[in-house]
């Protein structure tokens, strides 16, 4: 097992009180495996990703019962040990390619900086590695591109550079936080395929943060569905899609645009809004928006085993085939 996280909690101090952004999230990823964390924006998935690298903002505090990377307790690591891990064995791809690169350095310089931060390598070796990876991520004229500044490249190109940067030191685990959301739809598919191919050929573990269920169905081995800071369902990918058990998961699946959807008819969406996490809620977080909600849902609800490796945080699993309300 590459990374193992048990009962991760993240609190954020705000002017209006403490916000429990992530509550008791657990997961693990092995080599070559892909875990997808799915949820709406603000559900805590991005901050979970940042916490893995120890990059939380100062106002956030992280606690976990266990958090190990390759068997080593990450909570006991010193800053220097963590830094030696980041970008080296554990790497990350961010959402915004337009701003993720330093505007004042050439991309070659930035790629080399990463390599030389972790390897005792000559400039020449680092440069060769950079050229190799730029070619791997589908950039032509890699040698000349090294001298380009970020602003001289398109968004898609920049994200390729960001991916190459994350792969410079052959990481064992890569965390990708919505790596294609900011890009044109036409480029999205191409870049994702590239990312998945690279993952397979390098044998990396991957944690993909996304809200795109179509993407999840194509790449995930395992899926975690998060809602308002909590895991509401976790399952191997095929089980999640054949047997979605939590009402929120079903609602999410119902709101994926279907190409056969009749034109000019309103797209399905989930009624209501995500609750504020400022006050710790006792019962089900999805209560207010759930068609199956009852008084029993106001009590604390644990993740429950449904089948092999399949858990959902709902006491009504299996009850009534709900028909999703379509809201204009």
């Amino acid at each position: 097992m590459l990374i193992n996280v048990e009962n991760l909690n993240i609190d954020i101090a705000t002017a209006n009180g403490t916000l429990a952004a992530v509550q008791d999230v657990s997961f693990c990823v092995s080599k070559g495996e892909t875990l997808c964390i799915v949820g709406e924006s603000g559900c805590g998935k991005s901050i979970t990703a940042l916490s893995l690298l120890g990059l939380l903002p100062k106002v956030a505090t992280r606690t976990a019962r266990a958090m190990t990377f390759d068997g080593v307790d990450m909570q006991m690591m010193s800053k220097a040990e963590l830094r030696a891990l980041r970008g080296n064995r554990l790497s990350m791809i961010f959402q915004e390619p337009m701003t993720a690169l330093n505007p004042l350095h050439t991309i070659g310089r930035q790629l080399l900086d990463v390599y030389r931060a972790h390897r005792k390598a000559s400039r020449k070796e680092a440069k060769e590695r950079a050229i190799y990876l730029l070619e791997q991520v589908g950039i032509t004229n890699a040698v000349q591109r090294l001298n380009n500044y970020p602003h001289e490249l398109s968004g898609g190109m920049r994200q390729r550079v960001v991916i190459a940067m994350a792969l410079m030191c052959e990481p064992e685990l890569i965390v990708a936080d919505e790596p294609t959301t900011a890009l044109d739809v036409s480029i999205q598919a191409e870049l994702l395929r590239l990312l998945i191919d690279l993952q397979k050929s390098f044998g990396m573990g991957m944690i993909m943060i996304t809200h795109d269920l179509g993407l999840v169905s194509r790449i995930a081995d395992r899926v975690i569905v998060m809602y308002a800071g909590q895991v509401v369902e976790t399952a191997p990918a095929e089980k999640l899609f054949t047997n979605p058990s939590h009402p929120y998961t079903r609602a999410l699946l119902g709101s994926v645009p279907d190409p056969s959807h009749p034109r000019m008819k309103p797209l399905p969406s989930i009624p209501g809004t995500v609750p504020s996490l400022l006050n710790r809620m006792e019962g089900c977080h999805f209560l207010d928006r759930c068609p199956l909600a009852s008084d029993a849902c106001r009590k604390p609800i644990q993740l429950q085993q449904i089948g092999g490796n399949h858990e959902a945080r709902c006491i009504k699993v299996g009850e009534g085939k709900i028909r999703l309300k379509v809201v204009a």
């Binding site: 990059l55 980041r86 961010f94 993720a100 690169l101 004042l104 900086d113 500044y149």
Partner: protein
């Protein structure tokens, strides 16, 4: 880039012309130059004679153009007091002031930039509060009073530094501190806010996620981005600092352009005053021009334009 440079230089020239005209006419509009030249003991007839002799009776634009054509030929007029060409007079004086100004700017940068970096790296920490206190005090400190306080402490009470003159390198210590402190608050604050916003940038998060060392993140990635506005500000501050030398040079009896300005004003030496105002303005215009050029060269986004 070339296009930008040409346009920027053209603007600077236009600016210099405009500023020189405004300064020229402002000083003329302020009083009767003939009376000022003639001195307090003169009669109305004396003033009238001088008015005609110097051409003060002509429209101001004519006088300005006349003066300007001289300036462009390198003739800044003749000092009424020293009876020698203003240009020669100014050369030596400006060398002194520029020297003092450079010392002061270096001191300001050496103290204010690291302080601003530390304050921006650890906002609301003790060091940030101390840096802010240092800046707030600097902004409220009248430089002439600060100069006198230093003299009282180091020359009168402790007698370890000379109170005036430029005889030895020790004489430059207090003037440099006073002028430097004058420029520090603005530079410190800008460095601090620049570092704070740079450290919040996505590319810093990327650099950290890639495991770059804290020193590299702080100085190579963040400070370099924060440095661009610091360059602009420093050049402007250098201009202000040169102009501020009027006060400091008069306190420390340094024979630079600043004290010359003060003396010339007290003596009503109009050609010298005009030339000095022109020179100080030109300094500012040229300095900001250079800073913009430097910025354009350091910022690849500007460079490729």
């Amino acid at each position: 880039m070339l296009n930008y440079a040409v346009r920027r230089i053209f603007m600077a020239c236009l600016l210099a012309l405009f500023v020189s005209f405004i300064s020229y006419s402002l000083i003329f509009a302020a009083g009767d130059p003939a009376a000022a030249v003639a001195g307090e003991a003169s009669t109305a007839a004396d003033a009238e004679r001088i008015r005609q002799l110097y051409g003060f009776d002509q429209p101001i634009l004519v006088q300005y153009l006349h003066w300007l054509s001289g300036v462009l030929r390198g003739d800044l007029g003749t000092s009424l007091y020293f009876d020698q060409p203003v240009a020669t007079l100014l050369l030596g004086r400006f060398a002194m002031t520029a020297q003092l100004g450079i010392f002061a700017l270096i001191l300001a940068l050496v103290i204010a930039v690291p302080l601003g970096v530390a304050a921006g790296r650890w906002p609301n920490s003790i060091i940030d509060r101390l840096a802010l206190l240092f800046a707030v005090i600097g902004q409220a400190m009248p430089s002439f009073w600060f100069a006198l306080l230093l003299i009282i402490l180091f020359s009168v009470k402790l007698s370890i530094l000379p109170a005036s003159g430029t005889a030895s390198w020790q004489s430059f210590i207090m003037p440099t501190i006073v002028l430097g402190y004058f420029a520090m608050p603005a530079i410190m604050r800008l460095t601090r806010s620049g570092m704070i916003s740079a450290l919040e940038a996505d590319y810093i998060r990327t650099a950290r996620a890639m495991g770059l060392s804290e020193a590299r993140v702080l100085f190579d990635y963040a400070l370099r981005n924060a440095a661009l506005p610091i360059i602009s500000l420093s050049s402007a501050q250098f201009g202000f600092l040169l102009a501020g030398s009027v006060v400091v040079e008069s306190v420390f009896a340094i024979h630079g352009a600043g004290s010359l300005a003060w003396e010339s004003i007290a003596r009503g030496d109009l050609p010298t005053i005009q030339a000095l105002v022109l020179c100080f303005s030109l300094f500012y215009v040229v300095l900001t021009l250079l800073a913009d050029m430097l910025n354009a060269m350091l910022d690849p986004r500007m460079r490729s334009k």
